[in-house]
């Protein structure tokens, strides 16, 4: 990791602990912010967050590895999460999954080499009456059809 990136991380973590506090209860919000801004929680970020919160880095790792929205591997700029739970499944999730794989050239669980897209499955996102549904970062898209998927992907810059 470049010194520049390290400095940016330290600057961010310091700002977050000032804003949110440096108690253990601030750990999850800090991690969520770092994940959003940097796309993952690097080894260096783990160490630094642990130092600022005065806990062991393995404690931080334990939390990161528990939650599916936190990751120690770099994720794409756009994280595409297709709901695979039963109601979306009944409404035709499978065709959407194939379209996403084909259009992005990725398998589920993969991130594109240019770090633009990550394609994942997720469990129920509460759009069961409007499926199939997908979360792209924090935006939800519902009643998907293969052609709608192509249109949505085309708008991602």
């Amino acid at each position: 990791m470049l010194a520049q990136e390290k400095n940016a991380l330290i600057y961010e973590i310091e700002a977050l602990t000032k804003k949110l506090g440096s108690g253990r209860e601030s750990l999850l919000p800090i991690l969520q912010n770092i994940q959003r801004k940097f796309g993952y929680i690097s080894d260096f970020a783990l160490q630094e967050i642990a130092r600022y919160l005065d806990i062991h880095p393995v404690e931080v790792y334990g939390v990161v590895s528990f939650y599916s929205h936190l990751s120690v591997e770099p994720k794409g700029k756009y994280i595409i999460r297709l709901c695979k739970t039963i109601s979306c499944d009944l409404l035709g999730k499978e065709a959407i999954a194939r379209t996403l794989e084909k259009e992005l050239g990725l398998k589920f669980g993969e991130t594109s080499k240019d770090k633009k897209y990550t394609l994942e499955y997720c469990n129920c996102i509460g759009m069961c009456d409007q499926g199939p549904a997908v979360l792209i970062n924090e935006q939800v898209h519902t009643r998907l059809t293969p052609s709608k998927v192509v249109e949505i992907l085309g708008k991602l810059k």
Partner: protein, 398 residues
């Protein structure tokens, strides 16, 4: 006789004012009102809300917390999303009422990460409440101060369990705690804490606004009031329905325009699967309980495929700290796969059902205690269909 099409939640004109009324009462009177109304927790477990609040009110502590469980993760449930996005007032003012009732100073909404797109709307609503003095210092001149903050989850179903939720709020892995001690004594940061479902707070608002007697008119003897049901699957009109407790599954199916139905999963993945022979059963804590999820399957659906979807869900979402749940769910999923391949003996399936029953008693939290429900109910009610796999007759069905 259940009354359908009579909605309270979804008609803002009928909401009335609750906060003003609450401050005319003592905290004890509010707790008694909620108890007299017979309100039970709407997340699914059905613990009497009045009792929970009474315990928290009587706890002596310098700090107390009101936590709104908005980690709506049960497959097929989306009523809380609708309440939070469209009927925000009921939920947030319900939390203020709860805060006053147990004499807490701080409320926390634990919003699932998947709903983070609601955050801007919710924060803006809290600001509006602060400006109108319905939140913050000396609310409406009552001398009572209370504020609400929103915290996000990060994609873990188990955090909907109240002690796992508290662990998550405290910055830990969302692993359930042993109970007792209960959160009403030792909750967030060790302080007395009530954790209630989004809909429970909305119900508390309605009780204060309409009166306990009005609320208790609806429902059955042990399940009072109206219930929001999220309906999805094979029907013409999926969506959120407000129905009185005691409605039969048959009536609900008619209401939502379900045809050629084969089975109804009530209570989400962790609920039970009801075959058509039992659709005269009713939705209530006495008969078929639910946190609000109803998923309908028509005659074309492959029930083993449905079960596989549920078991994959639980294998992924088990937190892994206790072995009945961590290993049990894996074994049940492997069992489903063996049946699909026609390799499971009748004897082995019986053993798996027995394993499921052990998980129901031996698991540490509600996840592992309820995850065998679909396995047991689908294998019991759809034995013939499942067994056609066993005899190699169903290979073309997948």
């Amino acid at each position: 006789m259940p009354i359908v099409n009579d909605t309270v939640f979804f008609d803002a004109k009928k909401h009335g004012e609750a906060l003003e009324k609450a401050f005319l009462l003592t905290p004890q009177q509010i707790v008694m009102d909620v108890r007299d109304a017979g309100l039970k927790g709407r997340g699914g477990a059905g613990f009497p809300t009045g009792t929970k609040w009474m315990l928290a009110l009587s706890a002596n502590a310098e700090n107390k917390f009101v936590v709104c469980n908005a980690d709506e993760g049960e497959p097929g449930t989306f009523k809380d999303r609708v309440l939070l996005s469209e009927y925000t007032k009921l939920v947030f003012e319900g939390m203020v009422i709860a805060g006053y009732a147990i004499q807490a100073q701080q409320g926390i909404v634990y919003l699932r990460g998947e709903y983070s797109y609601l955050l801007n709307h919710l924060e803006a609503y809290l600001d509006k409440m602060r400006q109108e003095n319905r939140l913050g210092n000396n609310i409406l001149g009552s001398g009572f101060s209370f504020d609400i903050e929103i915290r996000l989850g990060s994609g873990a179903y188990v955090c909907g369990e109240e002690t796992a939720l508290i662990e998550s709020l405290e910055g830990h892995r969302g692993e359930a705690r042993n109970r007792p001690p209960f959160p009403v004594n030792t909750g967030y940061l060790g302080y007395p804490t009530i954790v209630n479902n989004v809909e429970t707070f909305a119900c508390a608002y309605i009780i204060l606004s309409k009166g306990a007697e009005w609320f208790a008119k609806y429902g059955t003897e042990k399940s009072k009031g109206m219930k929001l049901i999220s309906v999805s699957g094979d029907c013409r009109k999926p969506g959120v329905y407000e129905v009185p407790f005691g409605i039969t599954i048959k009536e609900l199916l008619e209401l939502v325009g379900a045809e050629r139905t084969k089975a109804v999963q009530v209570g989400g993945a962790s609920g039970i699967c009801i075959p058509m022979s039992e659709i005269n059963r009713n939705i209530s804590f006495e008969d078929v309980p639910t946190g609000g999820s109803v998923i309908i399957f028509n005659e074309t659906r492959d029930m083993l495929g449905v079960l596989r979807n549920f078991m994959e869900f639980f294998v992924e979402e088990s937190c892994g700290q206790c072995s009945p749940c961590r290993i049990g769910n894996k074994k049940l999923l492997e069992g489903v796969e063996l049946i699909e391949q026609g390799k499971a003996s009748y004897n082995y399936i019986r053993e798996l059902i027995s394993l499921g029953q052990s998980m129901q008693v031996a698991s540490k939290c509600g996840l592992g205690q309820s995850s065998p429900n679909p396995f047991i109910s689908i294998l019991t009610h759809f034995k013939d269909e499942i067994m056609s796999y066993h005899n190699g007759e169903n290979n073309g069905n997948k």
